[in-house]
Symmetry: C2
Subunit: 409 residues, 2 copies
């Protein structure tokens, strides 16, 4: 297909915000500024919702100083959307693209966003409309295929690890049972990141429950009893998506309302029900008085000023790389003129990555779950392989010290 | 009373941990190392609980490198206790002190801890036992009398402000109603700190509810409706201790269990009940679909690696100063040989403080509430005077930028 000499570009941010999705946006803007092939770079306000309403801002005009502030800000600076476009919706998007001579589309999001790119790209091809559609990965859930990991995960993992690290120290100071419920509907990566806080043999989290491993209430209570007997305290990390041995997620079992989002998912975040339920079960069955439960909620993805420097850098690079791929299309087997940016971890002593491209269809609508080698045999914790995988993504964690077990005098 | 030439000292950490209570502990240790009058500095394991069980560690032997790690760690490195000693309990403490020739007692905690110092000091005086008992202030609630503010508050305020700042950006990206429930049973200082996140006219939190101002459900829903009508979104910060106009706290009204702590307080933290209740009320009455609620819980006091540098410095100084006061007792009117360390804010252009001492009785068991001049007339927000008071204590907050309201092209 012939290349259009000079045309416009659109960038949007979709789905749940993260701590570094704005770094990817700024990466796109910075790189686009270098390329005269991109006349205007339009920022879509509230993602696809803004595109079909023809609501854009001019991103090339924003000064570097402001861009640095944007990159450092959590959440999605352009606004986001939970819309999941079908063919009809995408036809409207394509109409707007044609009207504005948009030939480059950069969409930062998860597997649903990759699918939006995939549908629009196919429609454009059928219509003979020259379009480069690039998906830029983003998700705190870390559940995209092909890529080693996803921008957004490292920062959320850092938040979860710092929270558990503090929680474990708190639980040493005032012993009891502490339950923390962590985001991740289908994939246990973020809950598993709680393990990064475990800096001593006896440190919490002592138990980790993942959506990948069904857990019965009896087994859960037996696990808690065993830890409590050993340490006189117990810190538990549980995914919001944990399910019973019959495969039904616990939140569904205890929910009295069934609010679902536009993608047909049950709303699990933004309620303390699961945490309180687990605490009540422990109180009732084990007669332990001091049982506390927290649900980390939206802080995991939105907390200000706590970016992982590694995650930040990679998110920005992914944004830049998408523009490079679009300007100079690569071989069809690697995505052709449209695709998804992915991260490859190099086999080096020191953590290092390189970026590559993959076809949109390899990422769209697919979900990666926590691999078996990252989960312990009992299904209530993670392996050292997971810690080795996830720790570099946080950019390092604080060091702590507790004196309570020093020798008595 | 004659001074004992050389004697031992005990230091303990009581009540709910904070992000900088270990900085105060390290301040005590550092200063004690300088004074040969203090032969051994014993760390009481789990505060008064450890004292009566004669469980101590030797703190003078801990190397400076370890102390720096301790100072940087959240929570109470010696362990804490929720015991509230009465005369009988304090008599046991005094017996241990006599047995170990302890003539200096440093106790880091809130108004209950000041009271423990007060009781023990009185008992020692009656018994003619030379003892210097110094209370070192600590509380995320910031509810101690006399002192301008309390070590621990600035760090917790920073956490709350960063959380709300991110939450507001998240709520701009995906608009709806967001409720955040914040610690502070009787005093609204920490909930008020949510206002520090408000860096733009339209930024959240849009509504702040404090324990100092009763709020009816009708008024609450009317407030939310007004904000939602204006901005199409609303971020709410509510104290765990808010009460209805009949004076009964809402958590009590909705609690099905009545677990109380050793001080007779109802357990408000570690449950998502209030947040979920408020969210349900809004959903039911206002028919708004996207309503989310988070309870910040223990993260507010324990999150690792997020100390306010100002708070950290002051906490350490308070620890050092307590030892200085004990070694060289000051005038009786300022506390005599026992007392509580307090912070005075200087009337200077740039934020600065100096420490002074106050009598134990002026702090013991007393609670400061958020002053009227810090609360807005409607009782649903704070004043600029509060922001001016609290902002310096955080040591500064991240800067953020949102692009969604930039001019359309």
């Amino acid at each position: 297909m012939a290349r259009v000499a000079k045309a416009n570009a659109v960038v949007g941010q979709s789905g749940g915000p993260t701590g570094v999705i704005n770094a990817s946006l700024v990466g796109v803007i910075e790189e686009a500024k270098k390329h005269p092939e991109i006349a205007n770079l339009y920022g879509a306000i509230h993602a696809v919702t803004g595109i079909v309403k023809d609501q854009f801002i001019n991103l090339k005009k924003i000064p570097a100083k402001t861009l640095n502030l944007v990159a450092a800000s959590s959440s999605s600076a352009l606004g986001s959307s939970r819309d999941k476009p079908d063919e009809e919706y995408c036809a409207k998007i394509l109409d707007i693209f044609k009207k504005r001579n948009v030939r480059y589309f950069f969409y930062i999001g998860g597997n649903d966003s990759a699918n939006t790119c995939f549908i629009i790209n196919n429609m454009a091809q059928k219509a003979g409309y020259e379009l480069c559609a690039w998906h830029i990965p983003k998700t705190i859930d870390n559940d995209l295929l092909v890529t080693d990991h996803c921008p957004g995960f490292g920062t959320a993992a850092k938040f979860v690890a710092c929270a558990l690290m503090g929680d474990d120290l708190d639980n040493r100071a005032l012993p009891g049972i502490k339950i923390d419920v962590i985001m991740g509907r289908n994939a246990g990566f973020l809950t598993a990141a709680a393990a990064l806080a475990k800096n001593k043999e006896d440190a919490g989290p002592h138990l980790i429950y993942l959506p990948e491993r069904p857990i019965s209430m009896d087994k859960f209570l037996a696990d808690v009893t065993a830890v409590y007997t050993k340490y006189n305290r117990c810190v538990i990390a549980a995914s919001e998506g944990i399910c019973d041995t019959d495969g039904i997620i616990w939140t569904k079992k205890i929910a009295d309302t069934g609010e679902k989002d536009a993608h047909g998912n049950i709303q699990l975040s933004g309620t303390g029900a699961l945490a309180d339920f687990l605490a009540d079960q422990i109180r009732a069955a084990l007669k332990i008085k001091r049982v506390r439960a927290d649900t980390f909620g939206y802080l995991q993805r939105s907390f200000a000023g706590l970016q992982s420097p590694v995650d930040f850098k990679e998110a920005r690079l992914c944004g830049r790389q998408a523009v490079k791929y679009a300007i100079k299309p690569i071989r069809q087997a690697q995505g052709g003129q449209s695709g998804s940016v992915a991260i490859k971890r190099l086999k080096s002593a020191k953590y290092a990555v390189e970026l590559f491209s993959t076809e949109l269809s390899s990422v769209a609508e697919k979900t990666k779950r926590l691999p078996d080698e990252f989960i312990n045999p009992e299904g209530n914790g993670v392996t050292n392989a997971f810690v080795k995988y996830a720790m570099p993504l946080t950019g390092g964690l604080p060091k702590t010290e507790y004196l309570g077990d020093y020798p008595r005098v």
